[in-house]
C-alpha cells in the first residue's frame, strides 16, 4: 500500500471514529446534552484525533527515516574495496543498486529466479521492462539489490500494519476514556494549540534556516575575499569564472557602486511615489465621496497587483526608449537604461503601496480631531494640513520606510531598466546597477559554485537582507507607536 493511500485510509478511519464517538457521547448524555462536559463535536474530535494523529505521525516519521535506513542496508552489502573509493563513486554504485532493485520489482519472482539461474543478460531483460542499465551488474550489486527489495517489502508491510494497529489502538483506548465527565474540549483545544505553535515554529525555523545558509556562504566568500575589499572598495569587476575553472581569478568585488545604484534608484522612486501616493491618499480619505472611493481605491490597488516584471517590460520597451528619444530631441544624451527610467517606473509601482498605507494611517486619525478643527472654523484643507497630517505623520513615515525597503529589494524592474554597469554617478541619465541585479547576474549561467564570483551573491544578498530588515523593523515600530497613540 502506498504512503498516500495509507494516509488517506487513516484519515477515513478518523472520520468514522468521529461519527462513532459522537454517537457514543450522545448515548452517554442520556438525551440531555447539557449532562456532558463538552459539546458533542469535541468528543468526536477527541477520538478522531487519537485515531489519526499517532498513526499519521508514525507514517510521516517513517517516510523521513526510511531512505536513511535503506541506505545503510545497501552500504552493509557493499564489499570493502568499493567503500574505500571516492565519495562520488560510492554514490554511483549506490544509485545503480537502486535502479537494479527497481528493475527486479518489475519481474515476477519466478522470472527473476530463472534469470539469475540461467545467467541471461540482465541488461537486456530489465531493458525490456523499461529499466536501462549501463553495464551488466556484478554479483554484489545483485545481492544488494535483492536485499534492498526484501527490506523495502518488509518496510511497506510493516508500516501499514503498525500504522493501522496504532490507529485501532488509539480509537479503542480513547473510546474507553469517553465518559460524560471527560474534558474533551480542553484536550482537543490543547492539541489545536500545539498545531498552531508547530505552524509558527516552522515559519520561524525556515527564516532562521535561510539566514543561516546565507550566512555560511557569506563566510565562505569572506574567506576568499577580505571584508574591506567588499565593503569599502569602489570597483566592481568580478571577472568571469566559468565552470571547471579553479576560481582563483582575481576579481574586484566592491559593494559601494552597487549600494550607490540601489540607493539612488530607490530615492528617485520615492521622490516619484511619495508625493503622488500621499496626495492620492489624502484625496481618497478626506475628499472623495463614497462612490468615488469604491471605484478608485480598488483601481489603485490593482496597480499593486501587476507583476513587477511587467513594469520592467514597460520601462524597457516604452519608457526607456521614450526618454532616450526625448533626450536626443533636445540634445541631451540619455541612455535607454538609466537611473531615471528605473526609478520612475519603480516609483509608479510604489504609488499604490504608499497610498494605501497612508490611507489607512490617515483614516486612523480620529474623526473627533477633525471635528474639533472644523468646529473652530478651520477649512478642510487647513484641518488636513495642520491637524490630520501632523497627527498621521509618524504613520506616513512608516509607510514611506516600508516603501523604501521594497524599492531596495526590487529586482525585475532594475534588471530590465537600470543597466548592468556598476557606476558611481550622480547623473540620473546614466546607467547604474544595483545589488539585486548583480545577485541575479552572478548566479545565472554556467558557474563554479565555490568561486568568489558566485559566493559574492550571498554576501550581497545578506547585505540586502540586513538593510531591508533594519528598515522594516524601524518602520513597523514607528507605525506601531502611531497606532498605540490612537487606540
Amino acid at each position: 500500500m502506498t504512503r498516500l493511500l495509507l494516509s488517506a485510509l487513516i484519515l477515513a478511519l478518523g472520520g468514522a471514529a468521529y461519527g462513532l464517538a459522537t454517537d457514543r457521547a450522545r448515548q452517554l448524555s442520556g438525551g440531555k446534552l447539557s449532562n456532558l462536559h463538552s459539546r458533542l463535536s469535541y468528543y468526536g474530535f477527541f477520538v478522531a484525533l487519537w485515531t489519526v494523529l499517532p498513526a499519521l505521525l508514525l507514517v510521516i516519521a517513517w517516510s523521513i527515516a526510511e531512505p536513511m535506513v535503506m541506505h545503510s542496508v545497501v552500504q552493509s552489502q557493499l564489499p570493502a574495496d568499493i567503500l574505500t573509493k571516492s565519495k562520488a563513486e560510492v554514490a554511483m554504485v549506490d544509485s545503480s543498486i537502486g535502479t537494479i532493485a527497481d528493475g527486479f520489482q518489475r519481474l515476477t519472482p519466478t522470472e527473476l529466479a530463472a534469470a539469475l539461474a540461467s545467467k541471461t543478460s540482465l541488461v537486456d531483460l530489465l531493458g525490456s521492462k523499461g529499466v536501462a542499465l549501463g553495464t551488466e551488474p556484478e554479483a554484489f550489486q545483485i545481492a544488494a539489490a535483492q536485499q534492498l527489495n526484501r527490506w523495502s517489502d518488509l518496510s511497506r508491510y510493516g508500516i501499514t500494519t503498525i500504522a493501522l494497529g496504532l490507529a485501532a489502538l488509539g480509537f479503542v483506548l480513547s473510546m474507553f476514556r469517553l465518559t460524560g465527565k471527560l474534558r474533551a474540549r480542553n484536550a482537543v483545544e490543547k492539541i489545536m494549540l500545539a498545531g498552531l505553535v508547530g505552524a509558527s515554529t516552522v515559519a520561524i525555523l525556515t527564516t532562521a534556516g535561510i539566514v543561516l545558509s546565507m550566512l555560511l556562504e557569506t563566510i565562505h566568500f569572506f574567506q576568499k575575499v577580505p571584508p574591506q575589499d567588499f565593503f569599502l572598495s569602489t570597483v566592481w569587476d568580478p571577472r568571469f569564472s566559468a565552470a571547471g575553472s579553479t576560481g582563483t581569478a582575481g576579481g574586484q568585488f566592491g559593494l559601494l557602486p552597487l549600494l550607490w545604484g540601489t540607493t539612488y534608484i530607490s530615492l528617485v522612486a520615492l521622490v516619484v511615489a511619495v508625493p503622488i501616493g500621499l496626495l492620492a491618499a489624502i484625496y481618497m480619505s478626506e475628499y472623495a465621496s463614497k462612490r468615488v472611493r469604491t471605484v478608485v481605491k480598488p483601481m489603485l490597488e490593482l496597480l499593486a497587483g501587476i507583476p513587477t516584471i511587467v513594469y520592467g517590460l514597460f520601462a524597457l520597451i516604452s519608457f526607456g526608449p521614450f526618454l532616450r528619444d526625448a533626450g536626443a530631441a533636445i540634445g541631451v544624451p540619455v541612455s535607454a537604461s538609466s537611473v531615471l527610467t528605473a526609478g520612475f517606473v519603480m516609483g509608479i509601482m510604489l504609488i499604490p503601496f504608499v497610498s494605501s498605507l497612508s490611507d489607512d494611517v490617515i483614516n486612523a486619525v480620529p474623526q473627533t480631531l477633525r471635528d474639533g478643527s472644523l468646529g473652530l472654523g478651520a477649512t478642510r484643507s487647513e484641518t488636513i494640513k495642520q491637524v490630520v497630517l501632523p497627527a498621521a505623520l509618524p504613520g506616513v513615515i512608516g509607510a514611506v520606510l516600508l516603501a523604501a525597503s521594497r524599492a531596495i529589494g526590487e529586482t525585475m524592474i532594475v534588471v530590465l531598466a537600470a543597466g548592468i554597469a556598476a557606476n558611481i554617478t550622480v547623473n540620473p541619465l546614466q546607467p547604474v546597477t544595483t545589488m539585486t541585479v548583480k545577485i541575479v547576474s552572478q548566479l545565472t549561467g554556467d558557474l563554479e559554485f565555490n568561486s568568489p564570483q558566485t559566493l559574492v551573491a550571498f554576501a550581497l544578498g545578506l547585505t540586502l537582507f540586513t538593510i531591508t530588515l533594519g528598515l522594516n523593523i524601524y518602520a513597523l515600530s514607528v507605525v506601531r507607536r502611531f497606532r498605540e497613540h490612537y487606540e
Binding site: L376, V387, A391
Partner: protein, 275 residues
Amino acid sequence: MVAASDASVLNGSGAKTLTGPGAHSGKISARDVNVFYGENQALKSVNVGIPERSVMAFIGPSGCGKSTFLRCINRMNDTIAGCRVTGKITLDNEDIYDSKLDVVQLRARVGMVFQKPNPFPKSIFDNIAYGPRIHGLAQSKTDLEGIVTASLKKAGLWDEVKDRLKEQGTGLSGGQQQRLCIARAIAVGPEVILMDEPCSALDPIATARIEELIDDLRKNFTIVIVTHSMQQAARVSQHTAFFHLGSLVEKGETQQIFMAPTDKRTQDYITGRIG
C-alpha cells in the same frame, strides 16, 4: 447634502422678525427643522428660540436628537455623509443654511465643545492658538500670547498650565483637556458656544469647575448645553428644552420646566420614569 427650505431671506435683513410657535426673537431661532440621516428622520419639526447671553439646556433620553440639533446650529452635520437638514435656523436673523453664508465664518461665530475632550496632538499653547492663527486674529506674537493667556484664564485652566504651555495638550487629565477645549473655543471669540455633554467624562470637582465657568461665560456668550444631568441643567441654565424621540416636547424657563412641566412626558422624564 444640505438644503435650506427657503432662502428668500437675504443675509442681514434683520428687519424680518420670525413669528409663529416657538420662534422667539433670540440669538438663535429654529423653525420647523427636520433632520434626516439617510432615510431615518432624527428630528421632527423642531421650533425653538435661544435667547442671547444666557444658558439654554437641552435634555432628553438618549437618542432623542439633542446632539443632532446642536450640530445643526453650527452646521457640523455637513460633515456627515447622508445627513440632510430642512427648515430654517437663523443666527442674528441670518439664515445659516443660506447658500451665500460661509460655513467657515459661521463656525468661527458659533463654537463647539465636544462630548469627548479632543485636544489636538500639539502643545497646549498651539492648541489654543490654533483658532486665532487660522482666523488671523492676532497681529503679533504678543497679541497671540495675550489671547492664549486670556482664554486659559477664562476657562479656569491658567493656574494649572501656565508653566507648561509647551507640553502636549494630550498629556493633560480628562478634566483639564475639557477645559482646554473650552479655552480653545473661547479663543476664537465666538458669540455662541455649543457644548455637547461637556461633563460626561468628568469627576464632580471638575464638573463643578466647568459649571462655574459656564455661569461666568454667560456674561459674554450665548451658551447651549446638552446634558443628561437634571441637576446640572437646573443649576446652570436659564432655559430648558426637552426632546423626546426626535421632537421638541416642551421648552421654557428652567424653573418652570422643572417645577411645573405641562407635558406628561416631560414630567415622567424629570422624575425618572422614562429615559
